[in-house]
Amino acid sequence: MGEEANCRDVDVLVIGAGPAGIAAACAAAEAGRCVAVIDDNPAAGGQIWRGGPAKAGPESTRWFERLAASGAIVHASASVIEVLHPDARPPRVRTRSPAGVVEWRSRGIVLATGGRERFLPFPGWTLPGVVGAGGLQALVKQGLDVRGRRVVVAGTGPLLLAVAELLVAKGATVAAVAEQAPLGRLVRFAASLVLHPGKLLQAASIRRTIGPVLRAGTFPVAVRAHDGGLAVTLASATRGRERHDDIACDLLACGFGLVPNVDVARACGCDVRRGAVAVDDVGGTTVPGVWAAGECTGIGGLDKSLAEGRVAGLAAAGRAAEAAGFVADLRRWRRFAAALDRTFVLDRRLARLAADDTVVCRCEDVTAGRLRCHRSWREAKLMTRIGMGPCQGRVCGPAAEVLLGWSPEDVRPPYAPTPLGDLA
């Protein structure tokens, strides 16, 4: 039996309650608009502020308080399932939560859908206990007990260091942090942080705790079950002398950077360029009435998210002039995002780690060997079922892009699995 969708009318609908969404909601609500924020997690905070003010630390507390005072209403555990009437400006968005299905009408939408981890397949990566770097961070923030656990953190990006720091703070031992980017690039990146003093302090503290176990130019090539736990083989990328090290651990936390979440943007009809929602200076997408902010416009970290959120929130609230006033500040964070991009470029060897029998699509157990004879994502999808599982390619798509150069197709509605009774 289909539940009749509740129709709700707001001025600004913010999709995503991470830092970008929170900043946008505050800006729009403080400008006097009626604002609703939806998020598929049980509470606001997104990834970096997961768990809310109690767990996310003092920096976030200010923002959570501001959100609470702003008048914006957060609807948690609400997933976008469909975007209706994509020709309407802005489109109507249907969400589903335990409380039911809601159809949102608004005068402006701010997409703050964030990013997700990029996973690359290598032999053994599907073993229980091999988890994302951001994935382990999320689980720890959800209450996972890691006291006394020995963890190898691997992959790429500043996230690895943040995860390692969290693990140490929570009583785990970090046996190694294997960052695939070469040391030279990391040093240059660290040097460039002088332009962003806050980040420099962050880096210094991380360096103290993690420095000793950081291995640059290093990536996992295999993991296997070993002695009740795992054994990870790390390869160092130094040319001419590729060294392999086996490290025993309880968990392997591995993620190769972040990719923007653009499904809802695509569903709204927004242009997506180079995998990110295309936006102008004030966060306007190519669809009138729809703005975007944060990681979904390009991976750039917390400050970019907060800055873009503010600008998009103001713009969506009709305060274009005020929004424009903050654009110069935004450019700084967009430059930081570009620096991130350059620093953490993926080593080409990572595309060749998967053996023929290494699973690429985890939902449908499609191995790399079965994919290599096809010429496009669509063809591989129809012939092997890659991307036909519930994740609809969110995990295997970025992997296929790196391994095979394919451009995965759009996710089809529903954007989260939805009981048949609640569809449409």
Partner: protein, 368 residues
């Protein structure tokens, strides 16, 4: 459709070139349900689907695992006595055509498919019907055709078929290449009228939903008997209860028909109507998680029979299209008709009901 025709022609000794605008199985082949079913709307349809289904059974053992061929059988569901009478009529027709079919009463229906709602009258079980996942079959048929000497040109689009400046049986591609032959078989579905002006095809859009894995939820392909009545009415939109168990344990849920709509976007209104119709027959469906929805375009003809045979007024041009919702079922039977027709040999099936020449005005239109 094209893959089957290429396969049959190559095996009959013809020199075959296949031009595919994307890759095998990329079109409607990928969008449909893959239900191999005997349909009895008309004697001709019954003959074609029966012959075709037999050919499928003959091929089944050789199909690759990816084709997910399963003899699920079809269970036509009757909601009331009128529909039971329809079921009996159907049973008689099928029996006369030597197709095994058996009436089941309400108790047997409930035992066979416990998740159907209470209060249904019974149904008709056709055990020889099957389900298949078509795209790998298309690829497999083409690979077999290539082994028999056919040439496959993919990522190439035909823009002109046997028109001015081209000989009969020749085509020109978008990149300027010409392929010269004695005959062109056009199995382009709803794109056919662009290549062969005047072919009386109209798109009939359908929606499908696939769920997450719920093994054992249904065993047979389930269709409401009223489907036939609903699908028949060419001019109105319709929905019908139609649920298929896939080898993966997922359910494929359909079906809908919208006339002359060729946009591929999901239409929430008709999707909702379709799902309501389905949950009315099977209430627990409402709780099964749907993973994905999509649409496809069936190629429909005015009289509901496909266009298989030479297109009058365009020498050398053969059609193999207009199969509406029976493209997968009739691919093999159609291919047999085409191969025999092109090679000039006798077919086991009477080709006359399917000849495009029956469409009257065809000769006048194609001389533009």
């Amino acid at each position: 459709m094209g893959a089957a025709c290429a396969h049959a022609l190559a095996r009959a000794g013809a020199r075959v070139t296949v031009v595919e605008s994307r890759f095998p199985g990329a079109g409607a082949t990928a969008a449909g349900m893959g239900h191999v079913v005997v349909m009895d709307d008309s004697p001709a349809q019954l003959a074609l689907t029966r012959r075709s289904r037999d050919l499928w059974h003959g091929l089944a053992a050789d199909l690759p695992a990816e084709a997910e061929w399963r003899r699920t059988g079809t269970l036509w569901v009757a909601a009331d006595d009128d529909e039971m009478a329809e079921a009996a009529r159907k049973r008689d027709l099928l029996a006369a055509a030597d197709v095994e079919a058996r009436l089941v009463d309400a108790a047997e229906l409930a035992a066979a498919e416990p998740r159907l709602r209470a209060g249904l009258a019974g149904g008709l079980l056709v055990p020889g019907d099957a389900v298949v996942y078509p795209p790998p079959v298309a690829a497999w048929l083409l690979a077999a055709a290539e082994r028999a000497g056919a040439t496959l040109i993919r990522d190439a689009t035909v823009v002109v078929v046997a028109g001015a400046g081209l000989g009969a049986g020749s085509v020109r591609l978008a990149d300027g290449r010409m392929i010269v032959g004695d005959a062109v078989v056009v199995a382009a579905g709803t794109a056919t009228p662009r290549l062969v002006p005047g072919v009386p095809l109209r798109p009939r859009k359908g929606h499908l939903v696939i769920t997450d894995r719920v093994p054992g939820f249904v065993t047979h392909q389930l269709i409401e008997l009223a489907y036939v009545k609903r699908a028949h009415d060419v001019e109105t939109d319709s929905v019908a209860f139609n649920v298929q168990p896939r080898a993966t344990g997922q359910l494929l849920v359909g079906s809908s028909r919208q006339v002359d709509v060729d946009s591929r976007e999901i239409d929430p209104v008709i999707l909702r109507a379709m799902l309501d119709r389905c949950t009315a027959y099977m209430p627990e469906l409402a709780h099964v998680p749907a993973i994905r929805t999509w649409t496809g375009l069936r190629a429909a003809t005015p009289d509901g029979l496909p266009l298989v045979g030479p297109w009058p007024g365009m020498p050398g041009v053969w059609l193999a299209t207009g199969h509406e919702g029976l493209g997968i079922t009739t691919a093999l039977g159609t291919a047999e008709l085409v191969a025999h027709g092109v090679c000039g040999t006798d077919t086991p099936l009477d080709p006359r009901p399917f000849l495009p020449a029956r469409c009257g005005r065809a000769e006048e239109v194609s001389h533009a």
